[in-house]
Subunit: 331 residues, 2 copies
């Protein structure tokens, strides 16, 4: 998939190397700068990520539900799809998603490339077919030229499309949060309350699942260990993928990076505030009733995980031609 010609190293400042000694011992690691990215694929993938012609309606793009102005989410309980279809589950953030062990809440896609093909063809989301998506792109000379430059072939296929989108998504990391600055040695980067929240986050067990650079995303865990989680949402979680009863109601532990921006919370999106989310997690997963002060301290800590948001110029999309299949929003 990758063309070696274009592989370069971005921002190779050795941040992690030099910082290892500073954050050693902490279960959360700073977000590393993006390395080894195919810049030509990224630029193509950025256009595709913003192109609503990958939907039947011509109205919904990847960015519609993973809005990069809003933490890589839509900030809705569940997403709006084709024909205003109400989605079944809360849209996870695309930010730092390259660090997840798998994609979707139930992990049914192994990586970002596999994920990217899903919504395009999902009748309740973008509602197109991969075939029409390719027909659309192949009818637009500027896309044809760019695919040729990037992939060195004359034909466009869906693997190239999803590969380029995935490559763009790998750039969507959010380094330099105040917490990362603290990890890297700037002890003034977080307040005493925020530090107390972090200590509590570790000492009371949140860290058992929310660790690593993404502060989550590394395992599947049952929602409601101590006490059952009540929801009307029918999602079954990992068991829907594995077929194993033991995996029932296990969901991928979400990243807590930029959690201040990715409300509402949990797979059903039913929890609107961070305070409520911390309370629910404490009681249901850890048998812990945080006091008001403790809750506020953990929330304060969580807000230090907001990093630098991806910064790029809004892509301009090449226009359709007379031969481009037209969107069908109302069919």
């Amino acid at each position: 998939m990758k063309s070696n010609r274009f592989i370069i190293t971005l921002i190779g400042i050795g941040l992690l190397g030099s910082a290892n000694t500073v954050f050693a011992g902490e279960p959360i690691e700073p977000i590393a700068p993006v390395k080894e990215i195919n810049l030509a694929q990224v630029e193509l993938g950025k256009k595709l990520f913003f192109d609503p012609r990958l939907s039947k309606s011509g109205f919904i793009s990847c960015n519609s539900c993973h809005n990069l102005s809003m933490g890589g989410t839509d900030n809705l309980k569940t997403s709006i799809g084709h024909n205003w279809n109400q989605g079944p589950i809360n849209a996870p953030t695309v930010l730092n998603s390259s660090m997840s062990i798998a994609q979707f809440w139930d992990g049914r896609a192994t990586d970002l490339q596999e994920q990217a093909g899903g919504p395009i063809a999902n009748p309740g989301e973008m509602a197109l077919t991969h075939e029409i998506a390719i027909d659309v792109l192949a009818s637009i000379p500027q896309y044809v030229t760019e695919f040729k430059q990037v992939f060195s072939t004359n034909t466009i296929n869906i693997e190239q499309v999803t590969g380029a989108i995935a490559e763009f998504e790998k750039t969507l990391v959010t380094p330099n949060s105040r917490f990362d600055q603290w990890l890297l040695g700037n002890k003034d980067a977080i307040t005493a309350d925020e530090h107390a929240g972090y200590k509590l986050f570790k000492d009371s067990g949140c860290i058992a699942c929310h660790y690593g650079p993404a502060v989550g995303g590394t395992s599947f865990q049952k929602m409601g260990i101590v006490e059952a989680y009540k929801t009307t949402n029918p999602a079954r979680g990992l068991s829907g993928v594995t077929g194993k009863e033991a995996d029932h109601f296990k969901f991928k532990v979400p990243t807590l990076r930029n959690i201040e921006m990715t409300y509402p919370y949990f797979h059903d999106g039913e929890t609107e505030t961070l305070a409520e989310a911390v309370d629910v997690m404490g009681r249901l997963q850890l048998a812990r009733n945080y006091t008001k002060t403790e809750n506020a301290q953990i929330v304060a800590f969580l807000k230090t995980l907001t990093g630098e948001q991806p910064s790029f110029v809004l892509p301009i999309l090449p226009p359709s031609t007379d031969k481009t299949p037209r969107p069908k929003p109302f069919e």
Copy 2:
């Protein structure tokens, strides 16, 4: 509305002054660089333009139907609104819209600021109320601070919101098209065929309505002068605003700038290609049946009107707080 403190002159290179002698005599003028813009309002307006929290669903922003990746339009016959409502008319481009005598196809808004308030509260478009829009913005500290910086007041009102959006929209001009380069003296900027198309455009009368820097936008004209325009679209045009029978089926002459990007065409969006649009205009407005060659030459000329698209970093929106009214997409 404007704070004098922030008024600056952008790109004051005297382009128009020095160029007057070059394009004098041509009925189309080059697009002038933006001057006298309030940059602080522009930055705020840019956020608001991209903020879907100005809609009831939390899903639709100004950019949804005036997509700045796609020529400031949605490239749909008629737009998709709240609850997948099918809009009544083709969304006009926001690009260069500051040059229009009025806004909307029927001119019912006198300027961009008045226009901006319409879709927010239109039940078939963004379906919010101005009151809730203000409540949303006033609940977000970063917005409160920015409004205070820009407008020097502690309270946010809808005039500020629409004023900032309009100020941003004034920056959405598309200078430096190949045709403008030709107007400014670069005789190699357009081909012989494109020049023949321009000559035909003038000689056969298109220029009577499509003139000036926006190549349109300066008058209301009846659709179907020589021959009636057949459409199932019920829009009545200017008469719906003035109540005068003489204004029946008069629509604002659309700009032809970036026309290659703003398909489909006409107020009903029923015409998909430029070739068809040129044919219809020739027959219905000018009693002229362009030959295939003539049609192709005019289309080639029209494509030289594609200018530099607005280039800016995708804005990052400040997150909602616990007090922010939540979107209601499915109510």
